[in-house]
Every structure is written in C-alpha cells, then in structure tokens.
C-alpha cells in the first residue's frame, strides 16, 4: 500500500496535473482571500473566505481526483493493480490518501496567508484552525466522491464533470430543500447538505457530529469504490 501511495503522490508532481491544481488553487484562494480580508479592510471576515472555499473545493477537487482510477483504466494498467498482492481496499486507500495529501498540503500552504493579517489586525486563530480542521474532513469526503466517480469511467473528463455535479448537488441541496413544505422530507434532504454542516466551523466551533458525518461519507464512497473494483476483478 505504501508503494502505491508513494507512486501516486509522485505522479502528481511528475506530471502537470499536480502543478496545475496547485497553481489554480493558490490563485483562486489567494484572490478570494484578498477580497474578503485585505481589500475588505474594516469589513475583513475570515468566515466569508471559508464560506467561498466550499464552492472552490467543489470545482477544484474533482480535477485532483479525475485521474485516480480513470487513467489506469485508460492505459490498461488496471489489470496490474487488480492482480497485485495489495488488497483492493489498500489500493483504493493508497490512492485516496495520495490525493488527500496533495489537497491538505495545498490547504495548509494557502492558510499561511493568514499570517499576513497579523501585521494589520488580530485575526481569530481559533476560527482559522477550526475551519482548517473542518475543511480537511470536508475535502476528504469530496475526494472520496471523486475517487468513486473516477472508478466508474475511463474518461478523466467524464470523471471530473460527474464528480463536480455530485459535489455541487451536496453543496446546493439546502437551497432546493428550503422550498419543500413537508418538514420531514426537508430535514432528510438537508441532512446531506455540506454547507449547513460547515457553518459551525465558520463560527468558531468544531462540531463532532459533522466530523463523523464527513468521515462516514468518505468511508461510504471509498467502500463503494472498493465494491466497483471487486466486481471488476471477479467478472
């Protein structure tokens, strides 16, 4: 599993995909960071920055995950993975962790921008840390979705677009749910909303219930990815 993890991680930085992801990620988050803090001046709000970050991840993370499994299918190296001594769970986990490592690294580096704010004010460290923790788990859930979508197709484009659609659905579901008059249906649908679950972190709280939700969400999609490969192995 370690070998697959290292190989995947190396692949991000020996091919353009990792650099493109990082460059675009830094550019967009940097711009949003500046708009919500530096250029806002008196109206600076770290909460607003993290509010936008959810939508940035919804678009960026599928780019990171599109090649995870789709590329192996396309170049026919999938058979090597399926017949390797590593378990399918280990293989899926290794690829997932590689993508997660790149994402967490990018997130932490982009958070270094907050240090600049200390020159001009007193940004709330607890809220920044709380949000970063929340976004690590949120990102893990999104990456798991992307991994699953990537496992279903050999086209990276289809993998990225379908991942974006699923993630955007989870992000926008509360908007749709608000128009449903029946409370129980509305509550069930809103339960899937990631935006609602992130508001606690934005306010300076770590919500253990939301963390467990993100972990189980990631687990569910990774499990489904393993099932896809189980089926493929035996068929």
């Amino acid at each position: 599993m370690g070998a697959i993890y290292k190989r995947e991680l190396k692949a991000y930085f020996t091919t353009p995909i990792g650099y493109i992801f990082l460059a675009v990620f830094f550019a967009i988050t940097g711009l949003v960071f500046s708009l919500t803090t530096l250029l806002a001046g008196e109206d600076s709000s770290t909460g607003a920055y993290f509010g936008f970050l959810v939508y940035i991840l919804a678009i960026m993370l599928p780019i990171l995950t599109m090649k995870l499994f789709a590329d192996d299918r396309r170049v026919k190296t999938e058979q090597l993975l399926l017949t390797s001594p590593v378990s399918l769970t280990g293989m899926v986990l290794a690829k997932f962790l590689a993508a997660l490592t790149v994402y967490v690294g990018a997130l932490v580096i982009s958070d270094l921008s907050f240090l600049i704010l200390y020159l001009f004010g007193a940004p709330p460290a607890e809220i920044i840390i709380g949000n970063t923790v929340g976004f690590i788990f949120l990102g893990a859930a999104f990456i798991a979705v992307g991994a699953f979508m990537s496992s279903l197709t050999e086209s990276q484009l289809i993998a990225s677009i379908s991942s974006m659609l699923v993630i955007m659905l989870l992000v926008l579901v509360s908007l749709v749910a608000n128009s449903i008059p029946v409370e129980i249906i509305r509550v069930v649908i809103k339960w899937f909303s990631v935006v609602d679950r992130m508001t606690s972190f934005a306010a300076g709280m770590i919500d253990l219930g939301s963390l467990i939700y993100f972990i189980s969400f990631a687990f569910m999609f990774l499990f489904l990815t393993v099932r896809v490969y189980e089926k493929r192995r035996w068929s």
């Binding site: 990792g18 650099y19 990082l22 830094f26 940097g30 109206d43 219930g209 467990i212 035996w234």
Partner: protein
C-alpha cells in the same frame, strides 16, 4: 452455463445485500450521533469568550429554578438555518440550555400552522408574534417574548452586532417566567374608583396577573401583590394628616401602606382625568416620585386628535417619547415605537401630567407619551399650557440585591396616566396601541429581577488597518506571484521529464 448464471446471481445478490447493510450501518451511525447530539453537546467551543458555552454564572442563576420551562421557536428547526449565522447562534445557545437542564424543553412550532398556540400568545402581544419570535413560557402560564436581535449588542456607530448577550437575555426571561404563582394586581376601592373596567381586568389577566380588589383602609396588601392600580379616584386616600389628628388608626393609613409597598420594590399605576379633584395625600405621595397632575385641566388639540364620537379635539393621539432608551418610560412603548408602522396610542379626555424632582436621587422620571405640539391645556376655559405636555409619566428606581457575584437588578415603578379611558373598551382593541402598552407595563412590572454578573461575550474584531495600495500589492503577491512560481516549477519539471 446455467450453473454459472446461478452462481453469478447468488454472489451478485450477496454482494448487493452486503453493500446495503454497510450503507444502512453508516446511516444508522449518523442517526445515532444526531440523537446523541440532541441530548449532549457535541460542540467544541474554540472562541476566547466561549460564546457558545453556558457560563458558570448563568448556571448559578438557573440551577435553583425547578419550574418546567418551555422555549418555543415559532418556526421549524431547519428553517432557522436560512436565517443566518446570528440566529443559529441563538438557537445553539437555547439548545445548550435545553441539554444542560432537565426542566428546560425546547420546541419548534410553525406559528402559521399552530393557530391555537399562536392565538394564545397573540392575545398578549397583538402585533408582534411572528415566525422570528422566541417564546419562553413557564409552567404557570407566564411567558416572555424574545427576538434574535435582542440577544446581541449593537454598535451605535456601525449598527453591527459586536457582542453576544444571549445568556443575559435568556436567563432574565427564564427567571421572569419561573414564578411559582401568578403575581397579583390589586385595584383599590373606597375612593369611588372606576370598577366597571371588565376589559382592563381581562387584559391584565391575559398578561399573567391575578386581579383582586382591595380596600387599603381595611385590609393589608396581600402577599404576592406586585402592582396596585388606582383607577380614577374621586376621594383622597387616608394618610398621615388624618393619623396625626387621631381620626384614623395607623392600620387605616392607606398612604403608609402604599409607601411600605413601594419600599419592597413593587409598582403602582394611577389614572386621573380632568375631573379628578385635588387629592392632597395622594398627590403628596406621587410628588415624592416626581409625578403629579394638573386638576381640572383638559387638553384639546384640533390637529393632533381623532375625530368621531365624543367631544371633538379631546381624543388625543399620543406622541411617542424616545429621548432616553435606557429609561423605563421608553420600554413601555419600545415594542410599538420601533416597529415599521407604530400604531396610534389614544389619550381621550386627558389632563397634563407634571414631571418634577423626586425625593430619591436614584429615581428616574420621564414621559412615555406627550400630546402633540399643537395641543393646548384649558382650565376654566382659559389656556394654561400648550405644546407637548406629558400624558403618561413613569418614575422608576432600581437596585441590586443578592450576594456578590450573584447580584440581580430589580426595578420599582410608579406610572401616572393622564386619562381614565386609556384602557377602556373603546381603545383596548387591536386597532390602537393602548393594549400593547398595557401589556408592556404588565411585563415590566411583572418581572422580578434581572441577573447581574453575566457578561456580554464580545465577538472577534477582525477589522484590518491597512491602506489600499498595500492591500493591492499583497493581493498581487498572494494571488499571482505564488501560483506563477508553482506553474514555472511545474513547467520545468514537465520539460525535464519530456527529455528523459
């Protein structure tokens, strides 16, 4: 072939069942966590001020209260998610109270669907119960209405919330509704007071009082009486002059009983009108509170009055006085005067109230309502005063009681209303604001104490002191330079690998 098919179907079905079981287990796990979250706090509060945590001070105030308390949100729980971060903060705090104390229950109701409950509360607050309302109700039927904005302190200069005072607001409301029995309001008799005031008594009953009558010359004020209502007296009260001359026993000294009543920090409402004669004992008592009235003086206003039945120009439309937001006089009409369309508050057949210097320096005297600037006061058909004359005067005192660290602030008020028709059938209906003013008075006077020692929880000040050019330079650095460097490195690696 058939065997192969059977195997495929068998293992395929088993696989599907396995997947379904795992997914169901995940859903069940999250469901259990949600249920646990309703009973136990699963939140780690990272803020310096512990904004989302109930402080030890608040716990001290609440722990001694055994009365079942129900806190109602007037909209469904998930609807509050769309109301913004601040309303969710209020919801979180209230739910934390519900988890911390077994006698506090939090409920969510759709006020538009629960007509019965809505009507019960709307009777007390005719124009303000809406989906944003938060009702704190005690087991004895007393309740207080709160709004999310009341849980925050607003900066005067920016109009933005700068601190969370939710604990103070909520603890105050819980204390107010947790009385074991309804407070009493006693209507005095024996001075030809108006007793045919069914609507007024009904209004006060709806406001949570037990209404009784009392002849102060014969009875002591019953325990549990919070307010005395002297409604249009025609004869003076028995006081120290009569006691000194030996005409009455000390036990028949009504003024002394009123004075003792106020020493215990209670409340008195007095209504008078142009026909109220000189009542020296009562007037002297009221003057100690800085209040008085001009006997045999009638206010007329051709411009600032309602036409219709009765004498023209005497159906005065009261003017809201907003000078001092901290004064009790302002709180009497705050719920009306701060609304988008403040209703008219009527003072029919009114006499001017006189605001003077109270004996106690700690007493604050102010007018809640005045006549319009076009009004004139007539005595013996001659103009004796004009302009904005007080129609309702409120004198209040406050003090702290309790041990250090657990002190509470209590109020005592005397209200003098310059009309005896303020709460008559004609004006107590929903068209005018008179009923709401009576409810406000009842609420102010029904409250026992306000908790002291609970602090505001100030939000982070995230404002930056930065000039525009520096901000723009840093924007370019962060959003362009760093990504550019990464792109260059990536390009270099890409070129190097192409040539391998």
């Amino acid at each position: 072939m058939k065997k192969e098919m059977k195997k495929t179907v068998k293992y395929g079905s088993l696989s599907l069942v396995f997947v379904a079981v795992v997914l169901a287990a995940i859903v069940l796990l999250n469901f259990i966590v949600t249920l646990i979250g309703e009973k136990v706090s699963l939140i780690i509060d990272l803020t310096d001020e512990e904004v989302y945590t109930i402080s030890e001070g608040a716990k001290e105030f609440i722990k001694g209260i055994d009365t079942p308390i129900t806190i109602y949100f007037c909209k469904e729980r998930d609807r509050i998610d769309s109301d913004g971060q601040y309303v969710k903060m209020v919801r979180n705090l209230i739910e934390e109270f519900g988890k911390e104390y077994d006698n506090i229950t939090v409920k969510y109701i759709d006020i538009d669907k629960n007509k019965e409950l809505a009507d019960k509360w709307k009777k007390e607050s005719t124009i303000t119960v809406n989906p944003s309302s938060i009702i704190v109700e005690g087991a004895n039927g007393q309740f207080r209405q709160l709004y999310p904005a009341g849980f925050f302190s607003t900066a005067q200069s920016t109009g933005k919330f700068y601190a969370f005072k939710g604990e103070i607001t909520l603890t105050n409301a819980i204390i107010q509704v947790s009385g074991e029995e309804k407070p009493k309001i006693a209507f005095t008799t024996g001075h030809s007071e108006d007793t045919n005031n069914v609507t007024l008594r009904q209004t006060l009953t709806e406001a949570g009082f037990e209404v009784i009558d009392i002849d102060l010359s014969k009875e002591d004020i019953p325990e549990g009486t919070k307010m005395i209502f002297i409604n249009n007296p025609k004869y003076d009260f028995q006081g120290f002059a009569l006691e000194k001359s030996g005409e009455i026993d000390p036990s028949e000294n009504e003024i002394d009983k009123l004075a003792e009543f106020m020493v215990d920090f209670n409340h008195i409402i007095v209504t008078v009108d142009p026909d109220t004669p000189e009542l020296p004992e009562l007037q002297e008592f009221l003057s100690e509170w800085g209040l008085g009235w001009q006997p045999y003086t009638l206010i007329k206003d051709n411009s600032g009055s309602m036409t219709g039945f009765g004498t023209k120009a005497t159906r005065l439309i009261g003017k809201y006085v907003m000078d001092d937001p901290e004064a009790a006089a302002y709180h009497v009409h705050k719920s009306l005067s701060t609304s988008a369309s403040p209703p008219r508050v009527m003072f029919s057949n009114a006499t001017p109230i006189v605001l003077g210097e109270p004996i106690d320096n700690g007493t604050i005297v102010a007018a809640s309502f005045t006549s319009q600037s076009t009004a004139e006061a007539f005595k013996n058909e001659m103009v004796v005063d004009s302009g904005e004359m007080p129609l309702m005067g409120v004198a209040s005192r406050s003090k702290y009681i309790g041990d250090a660290g657990e002190q509470v602030l209590i109020y005592s008020t005397v209200v003098l209303i310059g009309t005896t028709e303020f709460a008559s059938d004609s004006y107590i209906n929903g068209q005018y604001g008179n009923k709401e003013v009576m409810y406000s008075l009842a609420r102010i006077m029904g409250s026992r104490r306000v908790p002291n020692g609970l602090d505001f929880k100030v939000f982070y000040d995230e404002s930056l002191v930065i000039d525009q050019s520096t901000a723009e330079t840093l924007t370019v650095l962060i959003s362009a330079v760093a990504p550019f460097i990464v792109a260059i490195i990536g390009f270099a690696v890409f070129l190097k690998r192409r040539h391998l």
